[in-house]
Every structure is written in C-alpha cells, then in structure tokens.
Symmetry: C2
Subunit: 241 residues, 2 copies
Amino acid sequence: MGSVLLDEFAHSDTSYRRVADTIRDRIIAGTYTPGMRLKVPTLCIDLAVSSNPVREALQQLQGEGLVVIAPNKGATVRPIDARLIREIYEVNGILDAFFAGRAAQIATDEQIMELIAIHRKLEQAMLKGDVPKRADNNHQFHSLLGEISGNREALTVRLRHRNLMRAMRMKYGFSADRESIVLGEHEEIISAISARDVARAEYAAKMHCLRSCDDIIIQASIEPRPSATQQPAKRLTATSN
Amino acid sequence: MGSVLLDEFAHSDTSYRRVADTIRDRIIAGTYTPGMRLKVPTLCIDLAVSSNPVREALQQLQGEGLVVIAPNKGATVRPIDARLIREIYEVNGILDAFFAGRAAQIATDEQIMELIAIHRKLEQAMLKGDVPKRADNNHQFHSLLGEISGNREALTVRLRHRNLMRAMRMKYGFSADRESIVLGEHEEIISAISARDVARAEYAAKMHCLRSCDDIIIQASIEPRPSATQQPAKRLTATSN
DNA sequence: AAGTGGTCTAGACCACCTT
DNA sequence: AGGTGGTCTAGACCACTTA
C-alpha cells in the first residue's frame, strides 16, 4: 500500500526529539543567541516538519532552561543577564564543590587517572587553539567529576547550567589569559583529589567556578552591539508556577 | 460569523498551561502516583481538549522532572526509587544549607519575624491535624528561606525537587513522631539565623534534610533492588552517613 | 484592518503490543 | 492480524501587532 505521506523512512528517532536536539545544539553553538526569537513557522520550514513537533521540542527546551515561552507570544532563547550568570555560578560553585569533595572521598585510582588523561587532552586542545575540542574536553572533565559522585540528579542540574554557560561563552568568549589559568585550577583540583583532601578539593572547585564567573561577566560587559532583531522590549522571565 | 468551535470564552490562559497545572496538581496531590501511565487519549477526554495541548503539557512536566516520556511508548509519572530519593535529598541538603547560611548572613529582622510567623502557623496546622495546610506552611517556610537568598535559579531547582517529594509524602505520609521533630528542627534553624551563626544554620538545615530523607525512605520501606532494567553500576556510592 | 504567528482540532499514519 | 495509543500533518481559529 502506498503511503500517502513521506516515503522516506527517516524515522530513526521521533521527530520532536531530533528537533529539540537540533535547536539545543544551535543554542549551545551560538547560532541562536540569547534573546533571539524562535518562530515556529520559520523552524517548520527550516527543519521540514510541521508545527506540532516544533512546539513540543520548544516546551522540552523550556524545561531544560534554554528557552522561555510566553503565552500567546512565542518562544525566545533564554535571555541571560549578569544576575542570572551570578545565580547560576553560585549554584555551580556549590555543586562542583560537592562533586570534587565527594571525588576526594570515593574516586578510584583508575578514575583519577582518567581525570588526568582528560586534563592532558584539554591541554593539547588549548595549545592547538582547537576551540570546539577545548570546550568538549572541559565538558568531559567536569562531567566525569559529576559521574564519580554517583548523583545523577545533581549532574543533570549541573549539565543544564553548563549548556547555558556554553551558549554564553560561544557569544562572548574567554579573556586572553583565562585558558592557562583554567589549566592550573584543574591541576589543583586533581592534586587535592589525589591527596584525598576533601576540604581542599571543595575549595579549589569553588574557586574555579568563581573565577570563571568573574571572567564571563567581564567578557559579557564588553558591550556587544545590540543585534538587529526587534527592540529589547522588557525582560519577561516568565517563571512557571 | 458564528464561530465553528466553542463560543465559551473560557480562555483565561492557554490550554496547555491549564492542562500542565492540572496534571502537576494531581501528581503532587497523589491522584496520579509515581509510575502510573499517563495516556493521552484518557487525558484528552478527561480534560476536554485534543492531543496537542496534552502532549505539550507532558513535555513541560518532563522538563520539571515530574514526568518521564519514552519515545513511542508514552508518558508515566516519574517513578521514584530509593536511589532517586537519596540523590534528591543530597542536592536538597546542599541547597538548603546554602539558603540557611545565606539567610544567617543577610536576612533582615523583618524576614526573620516572617519566618517565625510561618513557623507558628505550621505549629497550629500540625496541632489541628490539618494536613494540607501543614504541607502548605512547610512549603512556605522553605520557600521564604530560598527567597531570602535572592537566588531564583537555586530556588527553582529546589522547588522542582520539593514537588517530587510532596508526591512521595502524599503517597506514603510521615512517621508518627516526625511532625514534632520537624518543629524542633525548624526552631533550631531559626535560632541559628537569628544568632547570625552561619555554620550552625548550615548544619541545622542539612540535618533537617537528612532526617527527612531517612524518614521518607523508612515510610516507603523501599528496597532498592535493581528492577528489570539493566544494572550498569558496579560500585555503589557508599551509603552516605 | 490586514498580517503574522501562536494555538488548537480533527484525522491520518505508524510503532508496539496482544491475541 | 487487530487494537491501542503515540506521533505527525494540514488547516482553522484567534491573539497580538503592524500600518
């Protein structure tokens, strides 16, 4: 029987998942920047699907904190201001201190080896100036720390915040000397974990976060010309419930 | 021209928001219990809407952590096992310690008065055995602590976890003597904040969380046996404390 | 007063079951 | 095979914003 609709069997996964993955990647990659309108008709054409999967994907991304949906007004990439950055890094600092402290308690020697291996790859990527690989290795470093803790829930929260901050980094970048400092901070964290020094590991992780926060705020305050989208309007921050 | 559809002007908000609110309330109230299937056709009939708003609401609730959606298999109320409870309370303990410690630093005298007022109302509700009011006042107590910190992002995370645990409490309840213990723990937190003793406030809040976690696990008398799914974890995260 | 875009319905398609 | 229910499309309705 001939199918009325698409004969392509491009159904490896559900459509709304692929749409959500695509939009998420574009937000993290900086293709869609914070504050940008995400119009359903445009996305429908671009991704060759109808409105329903797009709308479901946007709802899901709102749940992840990457998108804000205002009733009858549509979706925008979550706008990020200095306050939100500070709040997120405050939470990140608390969680990362927990991760590092827990790692100092329970990490196996193999896991510590793996941390060091990732750290070396990160070092290489920085030397080569390979920005995407740099971001990926940094992500792996902190993900492994989270996994060692065994707390998936905490890791989920942390990952969502990381995605938001990656979007910021893609828009504003790092300050010139931040990269070499990051390496030193990672080494201090690894050193503390290896020494099984919980307090030092917690402190090192927290400081790593604080300095990253300071850096991103400095970078972001370098006035990026307002893009040619619509007027800023008011910030809506429609917090659910 | 006559409207083809409903002429009722029952459009105070969007449909998918009302559906999400309804389902969320029912999960928290225990009408829909963890693990229960949420079938779209049933919800459509029950709530008198079509599938699209229901599906969008489910996606949103998945983002909030109350619902799990499996591709081509549908939605279920998020199943909760002992591991998830421990993970959530671990995060809660960290966040509540932060909230209480921050409150000890920056709470105004008026805010502390308000905390005490809520505490008294909670006391009254417990004496009267008014369970819904009890839950509501307890929620207010911890929400105010979160608001004092000024960190909305942390508060959002904490609120989501609170919703999940309220669903658990609605299903399993408290142990007999837990209520009076809660009052004492809240008083200790208030006392530490009033004394501006950061470390004591953090410790009191963390202990409050840990005891609540222990209580709910006992009430649920959950055996964390691995279910029919695969068991990838080899090393169990040493049962904390 | 159009137009744009968000929202919702009805129905078709199709994946995963049961029998 | 048949049924149940998840998924997607097409199109209608409607809120908000242009001019």
